[in-house]
Amino acid sequence: MTFRYRWKELGLFIIPFLILLLGMTQLLLANRDQTSSLSTRNLPPVQGLIPILGLIALFLTVNIILSFFFSRADQMLLPLVGLLSGLGVLMAMRIGPDINRSTLGTQQLIWVMLGIIMCMVTLFGLRRMQWLERYKYTWAVLGLFLVCVTLVNTFHVKNLDSPTHDQLKLGPFAFQPSELLKICIVIFFAAYLSENRDILAGKGPRFGPFRLPPLRQLGPVFMMLGIALLLFLVVRELGLALLIYSLFLCMIYLSSQKKSYVFFGLLLFALLAFIGYSLFSYVRNRFAVVGFDVVNWQRWTEAQTDFAENKGFQVVQGLITLSSGGILGAGLGLGHPTIVPVVESDMVLTALGEELGLAGLLALIGLYLLLIYRGYRIAMESRDPFNQLLAAGLTSIFALQTLIIAAGNIKLLPLTGIPLPFLSYGGSSVIANYIIVGILLRISHNSALEREGLA
């Protein structure tokens, strides 16, 4: 343990803190009568800024703790993540009162704080990366166990259309185990694939001009994949099934560097998607939205209008919300994002798009890009194959999740219910994402120590 103050991180934190304070001020002001004038007498109460100030204080504490114990961990991750999750808290505060859940913002704030604490716990608890690598089957079984428990709960509820059907109730907390399953699956894939990478890169059965991966050695991976996909088909979590399948493809490609595997994976995916499309009506519904013509809304037929008002309501409203934001946006607290159903979690991108505008949305995507770049950079800087695969896989979770849900929001892909990392309301997702950040920080710290010859 060597002390080295993380000045770079502190410097990067300044603008996010300013943005959060500014956003909070705007939220407080936006509730006023727009035509009134602003004078020193009717300024918003400073107490309104307390939640954000608390968040800022927590990040500064983390900055100092990390300087003491993990001074070489990556310095750009936390400012990026902090800004994203701070904006998430602001958005929850803004949306909450409009959907009759006035404590939404406070809850999200508590989740973010718990998440940061979990991030620290992960950093301190994960003394050796080998713990993850050696007990890979334990992690896999743990993940599946969590989901099985949920499954039982699902059959208990018997209502597959309720948004909470995949939650696990532990006392006052409703917990979504699928968020943790993602991490468990990535750990398992990374450990198994890094152990068997030479076999994987070897020759498998031929199929035309392409080589299939050696199927027998990939058995455990396929089994894990199959179980996960089946589970999600049963609980109708299409988004998670998609996420896990694409994660699998990413990690296979990263460990074998063979494009033909990805090609085969996509072929198989197309086949599975087609089977799903013809078997399940809810899959067809999701796809119907993608092909729906919104631009010519003046010439909608009766059937189209009906579709836009019922099955396609959420996505069509989301598009209207986005377009009403324009380039500069309506301003935080000044739009009407709550006409979109489930705007606080799945459709939060549309709310942000309306209130921050296209410019803000592009900036957010920039933030995600930099976050993902940093994650892959951490993977590249690591020497150990397991750490490399793990960091790249965990970063892929962020990348794929952002891609799938953002594309769903803007009608490029079927909309599926997975959260936008850090911005969506939801405790388990925020905590799981912060655990991922913790693991990434730990890997970057370890590889920096190794590079400097201190470990």
Partner: protein, 148 residues
Amino acid sequence: MPLDVFLLILRILLLILLYLFLMQVVLTISRDLRKTAAMGSEVEARTPPVVGHLVVVDSGPSNLLPGTRFDLMPQTIIGRGPTNTIQLPYPFISAEHTRLWYRNGVWYVQDAGSVNGTFLNSKPAREPLPARPGDLIQIGPVSFKLTP
């Protein structure tokens, strides 16, 4: 000041700050990259020049990753022993297995008296054989491709 004007200013300031932050992160990243690049070139200056690479094509029974690159010095000796330029610590590689050298723009490969042999494009390289980039060099059961 009327409130809506103030809100407009806040709104635009928020966007400007968002982009300033993006710029700051990108600048920090590029400064970092430049620093690591400078560090890399320093390391390069201290070691003899790299004139070519061997890329693992088929790792055979070893646990080498296909695609792994080994740097080639103008005089390279490959073998199991610790004194070799490229050390391959596997039982099926001889202590001194293969010699590679670079003269007048041409690579030469010769077996250094190994048990499992050295092959250039499946031809045994008992005598020095000239090799071109793209040729397959088999060292025992492991195949490499010579690249510039």
